[in-house]
């Protein structure tokens, strides 16, 4: 996923109504009218949210039927999931390694504990 679409996707996901819409769409495709039902919101307001989601590639809307059914785009969600997964993995595994490395350093130089490093006293 390129940077622009990732930006758009995160921005789109930042709104609780839009996340609720996605949660509803996870159950299957439906119409704007159906989507609007649980929210105290006008149809145009819901349509606006749908446009944001659509632009972010998170949902798609049918062209064929008059009622233009909305459905979720699993690919975009998968991309976000992957991106977050890689990011998390980077830190978790790096910090595992850091933990091991710190143990090694302390075993080698027990006197370094107090001194810490050559980076001064932190003042």
């Amino acid at each position: 996923m390129d940077k622009l679409s990732l930006d758009a996707a995160f921005a789109a996901l930042s709104d609780p109504t839009r996340r609720a819409i996605l949660a509803r769409l996870a159950l299957g495709e439906t119409s704007v009218t159906e989507l609007a039902k649980p929210f105290a919101m006008s149809l145009p307001a819901v349509s606006k949210h749908l446009k944001v989601l659509e632009r972010a590639g998170l949902i798609a809307r049918g062209r064929a039927a008059q009622w233009r059914p909305c459905r979720i785009e699993p690919k975009a969600l998968k991309d976000i999931d992957d991106w977050l997964g890689n990011y998390r993995r980077f830190f978790e595994e790096s910090l595992d390694r850091l933990d091991d490395y710190l143990k090694k350093l302390q075993a080698q130089n027990p006197g370094e504990d107090k001194k810490g490093s050559d980076n001064g006293d932190g003042s």
Binding site: L84, R97, Y101, Q106, E112, S117
Partner: protein
């Protein structure tokens, strides 16, 4: 000492926060972040090695390095240090420029002295998050990640 990771979508959808306690004094943990010789020993996920070509540890300074992946691929990286408070905090931005990987985020790393132990808190602001000047106090409050990730995974599985 497991890493705690959370993503607070409700409060701040563009950052991810992690926390971990190390059984080592703060100066030592901080030092491990400030020298390419140290960084080469632990930076990157399992199977990766890191080669540094430039390292300038001061605000505005750049760390230029290549991460060699287990798949044989090389990943060009650039880190620009934005703020350094020894031995408490490092803020850097990752990415930027045509010649590096197209990933960009701002990272804040906080080192808390727990008396011989050190709590490390890292917070990543996702792409194009606005400049933030926030102190991280609420790392424990973020519960959103697990839920959100579970939801996302469910979407993906249900729809794939």
């Amino acid at each position: 000492m497991a890493t705690v990771v959370s993503l607070d979508l409700d409060k701040d959808p563009r950052s991810i926060i992690g926390m971990r306690v190390f059984d080592a004094p703060r100066d030592l943990v901080f030092a491990a972040w400030t020298d390419p010789k140290h960084l080469a020993q632990w930076w990157g996920p399992n199977g990766f090695t890191t080669t540094t070509s430039a390292f300038d540890f001061r605000p505005g300074g750049v760390w230029r390095f290549v991460m060699h992946g287990p798949d044989g691929r090389d990943y060009q990286n650039r880190v620009t240090f934005e703020e350094i408070v020894r031995p408490e905090r490092i803020v850097y931005s990752h990415g930027g420029g045509e010649d590096v990987e197209p990933v960009q985020f701002k990272q804040t790393v906080i080192f808390e002295d727990l008396g011989g132990k050190t709590r490390l808190i890292w917070r990543g602001d996702f792409p194009s998050a606005e400049e933030r000047d926030r102190v991280i106090k609420d790392y424990g409050a973020a519960q959103g990640l697990v839920q959100t990730m579970t939801r996302l995974a469910e979407f993906v599985e249900a729809q794939a």
